[in-house]
Structure formats: C-alpha cells, structure tokens
C-alpha cells in the first residue's frame, strides 16, 4: 500500500509563505508529478512528505496514519535526490545495502535484495566500485537502487534527472516509467521540466508561488488548462497568447486587437456571450495553427509576417509578427517558407482557449 494524503499543508519560512494550503490525495500505485518553475514550493512539499522539513500547518498521512511528527526513517519512504547523495566512501553495494543494514536485515536478505535491484537496473558489474568511478547515469541508477532495495510504501524523487545530459535524460525517463510499471510503488516526483511531467505522471500537479494551479491527467492539463499559467507552462513551444476585445457584429462574436480580427467559432462564442466589449486573453497552441488554404474559409484566420524560420526536420517552427504581437506556429515540414514571407494562418476552432484578462482563469 502507499496512499498519501495532504490536507491543508502550509509552509512558512519567516515571512515567506512557501507552500499555500495544498490538498491532494495520491492513490496507491499512482505516479504523481509536481511541476512548476523554481521557487514554486514543489520541492518543499516533497521534503515535507519526506519529513526533512517541518510542516507549518496541515496533516500529511500515509495509508491513513498521520505522519506529521514521525522521523523520516519511520515513514517508510525512500527518496532519490537531485545530486544522487550517494555516500562517497562506500562502494555501490554498500550504498544500496546501507538502509537495510540500518534496519537490521539479515545479511542474506540484504544480499538478495541488493543483487535483485542491481539486476533490474543493470549495475551488477559495478557493485564494488566507488560512486566517483561511475558516470552520471550509473550514479543515478545506484541512487534508484538504494531506494528500491528498501521496498518502501512511497518513492520520492527530487528532480532526479536534472543533472544528466539531454540524451541520457530521455533514456532514464523511459526506464523510470518501466520501473514504476514493474514495481507498482506509489511515486511522487518533482521536476521543473514539463515534458518529464507529461510523460511520467499518471497525474500532474502544477504549482506556482506555493499554490496548486491545477491537478489532472497530462492530457487534461494540455487540453483544458485551468488558467493562463498552466496553459503557458504545459506544452512546447508554449501557447500563444493575444489580448483581444470581444465585439459583436451581425449576431456573431469577433475577437479584435491591432493585428487580429477573427470570427470566434460557435463553441467559443457561447462561452463569451457575457464578455462582449470586454478584454479577454485568447490562447492557441503553435501546433493548432495551420497555413490557411481554400478549405479554411470558415475557420478563424489571420495574417502574419514570418520573422524566423526554425527547421526541426519533423516540423517547422515559425516566429511571426501578428499586428503588434508575436506568435509561434508549428507547421508541416513540407511547406516552403522563408523570412519576411506574408502568410495567412488558420486556427483549429475547437482548440481555442480563452482566459479572463484580469484573473487569468479559463473561461
């Protein structure tokens, strides 16, 4: 079992309110990712679950028992640190065995578990080496090994991949996912990388300034962001935003600003009935923009001037000037475009996001 419940968790550092009233139920076997920019309170939350940081108010319970006042060792959790935190003077074997030795396991059982974990992680050949004789990826595996030999209720990961190079990071990401499928242990994972969050998480918790912005499955966050921050944070390249004024003409709604004048599709218009004459923020993802053809006459279209063309092979990213603002579009790699070209682009009508210009929440 490994069910973690956070109830009204707060953390104050002197006058700084680092974590604000976090409520969350993490189910057994679930992989939950906390994601957000640095200083958003995600690591502090994780450290409070680990017991490395005191809780200012609220309750944390694991499998129904409140663990607020339990020492880290009594919470039956294992943690993987950003810098691995391997004991430099111990061999790989001893690093993995340390937690079991401290818990007074039989020698034979320790040996069995260490070798089992080493097998799973493919580090069986390095058991006698010291951490500094290993590469970054190997150290990361040892850190994982140290966590899994313990068979804890919950794994805690504090940005475990951020010290690896890009290629290795992608590889380890896949292995982490496989490992979780294989072990089925509840995992709480902290990262600032939204791609890691999307790919690893069963559910993702987006945080900013100590506040939870949205909790949901990855696609839910992508398709229905609760506010402008989540919309901009999830997805790469980031969503385009334009502040527009909603106007009414001939019974249909228009969104206008200096360079944009588009007819809002019915579904969006429904939601904006009450906002006529007011300013809202329009959001559209780069991948939801296409070069407008004859068939797109009834789609919301606009004109743009290309400023930068980024060829990625599988797609082309266009940095464009639209009126006074800029937008990014991701288009088919077969389209021939060059800098300073004028282009007419169409939006996928069902993929239009609208946010309140002041509160930034989704409308």
């Amino acid at each position: 079992m490994g069910q973690v419940v956070l109830k009204g968790i707060n953390k104050f550092y002197d006058s700084v309110h680092a974590v604000v009233d976090v409520n969350l139920q993490i189910r057994d076997k679930e992989f939950v990712v906390f994601v957000g920019p640095s200083g958003c309170g995600k690591t502090t939350t994780l450290r409070m679950i680990a017991g490395l940081e005191a809780i200012s108010s609220g309750d944390i319970s694991i499998d129904g028992n409140v663990v607020n006042d339990l020492a880290p060792m009594d919470r039956d959790i294992a943690m993987v640190f950003q810098n691995y935190a391997l004991y430099p003077h111990m061999s790989v074997y001893d690093n993995m065995a340390f937690g079991l030795k401290m818990r007074k396991f039989e020698k034979a059982e320790i040996d069995k578990r260490v070798r089992e974990a080493a097998d799973i992680l493919g580090i069986g050949d390095y058991l006698k080496r010291k951490p500094r004789q290993l590469s970054g990826g190997q150290r990361q595996r040892v850190a994982l090994g140290r966590a899994i030999v313990r068979h804890p209720r919950v794994f805690l990961f504090d940005e475990p991949l951020s010290n690896l190079d890009a290629k290795l990071r992608v590889q380890m990401r896949v292995e982490l996912k496989k490992l979780h499928l294989r072990l089925g242990t509840t995992a709480i994972y902290v990262t600032h990388d939204q791609v890691e969050a999307m790919t690893l998480g069963d559910r993702v918790v987006v945080m900013k300034d100590g506040l939870v912005q949205q909790v949901g499955e990855p696609l839910e966050l992508y398709n229905q962001p609760a506010n402008k921050f989540v919309a901009g944070f999830i997805g790469s390249p980031a969503m385009n935003f334009a502040n527009v004024t909603v106007t009414e003409a001939n019974g249909s709604l228009l969104a206008e600003n200096s360079g944009l004048r588009i007819k809002l599709p019915d579904e969006t218009a429904q939601r904006l009935r009450g906002h006529v004459g007011r300013e809202v923020t329009l959001g559209v993802r780069p991948e939801d923009l296409t070069v407008a053809g004859a068939a797109d006459a009834d789609r919301p279209c606009f004109d743009a001037v290309i400023e930068v063309v980024e060829q990625l092979g599988s797609e082309i990213l266009l940095d464009m000037k639209v009126g006074d603002g800029v937008m990014v579009a991701s288009i088919e790699p077969t389209v021939r475009v060059k800098v300073r070209d004028k282009l007419r682009l169409a939006m996928r009508p069902s993929r239009l996001h609208v946010f309140d210009a002041k509160t930034e929440t989704a409308i």
């Binding site: 680990a50 017991g51 490395l52 020492a71 880290p72 060792m73 959790i77 294992a78 943690m79 640190f81 810098n83 935190a85 004991y87 430099p88 003077h89 340390f98 937690g99 401290m102 818990r103 010291k130 140290r146 313990r150």
Partner: protein
C-alpha cells in the same frame, strides 16, 4: 620589426632557468632558517661546547648522558602524556564544537569569530592570565570552588607535580580547541547536507549518521589537523615556560623547556642541542605514519 629581446631576458624564457629563479627565494629562506640551524644543531650536539667554549668533537657522549638523566626521562614521559591527553581532548571538544557551529542559528558568524579568541591572543599573554587563575593565593578557581562549598582549603595548583601537569594540560586544551573547531568546521561544511538527509531516510539514527557518514568523510581533514596539532604540542614551549618554568622540581618539563633550561639556562649548549634533537626521530615517525595514512584515506 620588433627588436629581439636581450640575451639575459631570453635566458628566463627557458623553463629550467625560470624554475630556478622562482625557487631561489624559498630555498634561501628555508636554508637560512631551517636547514642551517638544523645542521648546526646536529654539529653542536656531538661536541662538548658550552657558552664561551667552542668545544671539541665528543661523538654521542651527550646523547649517552641525557639518556641516563632522570629529568630528561621525565620530560620525555611528560611530553608524551601532554601531547596524548591534550590531543584527545582537543579533538573531541573541537569536533563537538564544530558540529554545534555547523548548525544554523542566529549570530552564527559572530560566534564562529568569537570561538577563535584563545587562538588569536598571544599565547604568552593568555598563559599569564591562566597563571593568575592558578595562583595559590589569588586563584579565582579556588575562590569559586570554595564558595560553591566544594573545597575547604586552598588547592596549590602549580605547586603539586600532578596538579601542575593537569593545569598546563588544561591551558593547552583551551588554546588548541579553536584550531580544531574551526578546521573541522571547514571540513564539515564540505560534506553535503543531502548525505545526512539520505542517511536519515535510510534509517540511520543521529549517532549512526555521525559514525557512518560524517566521521569517515571528515577523516582526511581530521588527520591533517591532528598531525599539525601533535607536532606543535610535542614541541610546545610557551605554556610550560610561563606557567611552571618546568617546575615544581622539574616535574613538568617537556622536551623544549628542558632543552632550553640545559642549553641556555645552564649554558650547556651541546647537551641542550642533543635534547632538542632527541625529539626529531619521534616527530619524524609521527609525520611519516600520518602522511601515509592520509594518502590511504584519500585514495579510497
């Protein structure tokens, strides 16, 4: 066209000559203040020279003489006790202090600077203050103990051979702890706090974390600090000279103070040199053993 540099400057462009030129100041200093006195000491110790008498070569007669000298034997014994006892206390107190100072608290920087005071004050000055505190008549220690009702008469701190030894040991510990504390604190700060957190999650209790994580990682620093301290304590002079002058009845002499008393006080230069030199093989051995050990620890 640029002018070719003059020949003398060109000579310095040759790395061998440049190295020699750069080494000369150090070599001169080491030669004048360490090698020359050392060699002179050896030469002196095999003569029978006294103040005003150049002396003749007498072989190892001086060494033979001092090894049969009861006071010399006491000084050797004292030096070992003095070094051993103070090092154990300085290390344990210094480590304890370093661990306390390594925590976060208000006024941390101030406290760290304050701790260094015994180390900064000139030893002779602070030792005089201690001498007053141990004075048979004016002792503030006696006054305190008396008023707390722990003693009824005066304790003659520096008049009793054992108490005098304990007194100089206390002063040496007091003076040496800051060096241990600050050096070990510097060592502690190189140990990532994450290691202790990882160990805490792994189930290690505080003393287990100290024993399995902090102590082994601090060991190289500890060895260097102990090495320095042993060398300095072994050859200590000032504290004993000021506090007891080697008394009462030569009971607290160390190598250095006895060598001074014989060589300068009595004027038997060659015998004094022999006493000083007797320290050398022991210290040499200590240094070799510890350096080998440090290397082994660092290779791990």
């Amino acid at each position: 066209m640029p002018q070719a540099p003059r020949p003398r400057l060109r000579l310095l462009e040759d790395e061998r000559w440049l190295a020699l030129v750069l080494l000369v100041p150090t070599m001169v200093l080491l030669g004048m203040f360490i090698a020359y006195p050392f060699v002179r000491g050896i030469l002196l110790s095999v003569t029978n020279s006294r103040v005003g008498v150049p002396g003749e070569f007498v072989g190892l007669a001086n060494f033979y003489k001092i090894f049969n000298d009861g006071i010399f034997r006491t000084s050797v014994y004292n030096t070992f006790v003095y070094t051993g006892v103070t090092t154990v206390f300085k290390l344990s107190l210094g480590l304890w202090l370093a661990m306390l100072l390594n925590r976060n608290f208000r006024g941390k920087a101030f406290t760290r600077a304050f701790i260094l005071l015994p180390f900064i004050i000139p030893t002779v000055l602070s030792t005089f203050a201690w001498k007053w505190m141990f004075d048979p008549t004016f002792s503030v220690l006696n006054w305190l103990l008396y008023h707390f009702g722990l003693i009824t008469g005066r304790i003659n701190w520096l008049g009793d051979p054992d108490l005098a030894m304990i007194s100089i040991i206390i002063v040496n510990i007091w003076r040496g702890v800051p060096f241990f504390a600050i050096s070990l604190l510097a060592g502690l700060q190189t140990i990532s706090p994450e290691l202790n957190e990882a160990a805490a999650i792994d189930g290690a209790r505080p003393w287990q974390r100290f024993w399995h994580i902090t102590w082994p990682l601090l060991l190289p620093v500890t060895m260097v600090v102990v090495l320095f301290s042993v060398i300095q304590t072994f050859a200590d002079f000032q504290i004993v000279y000021v506090m007891t002058g080697g008394g009462p009845a030569n009971a607290t002499h160390l190598f250095a103070t006895y060598a001074y008393q014989i060589g300068i006080g009595t004027g038997l230069l060659s015998e004094g040199a022999a006493i000083s030199l007797a320290m050398f093989p022991i210290l040499f051995l200590v240094v070799i053993i510890q350096l080998l050990y440090i290397r082994r620890v660092e290779v791990r």
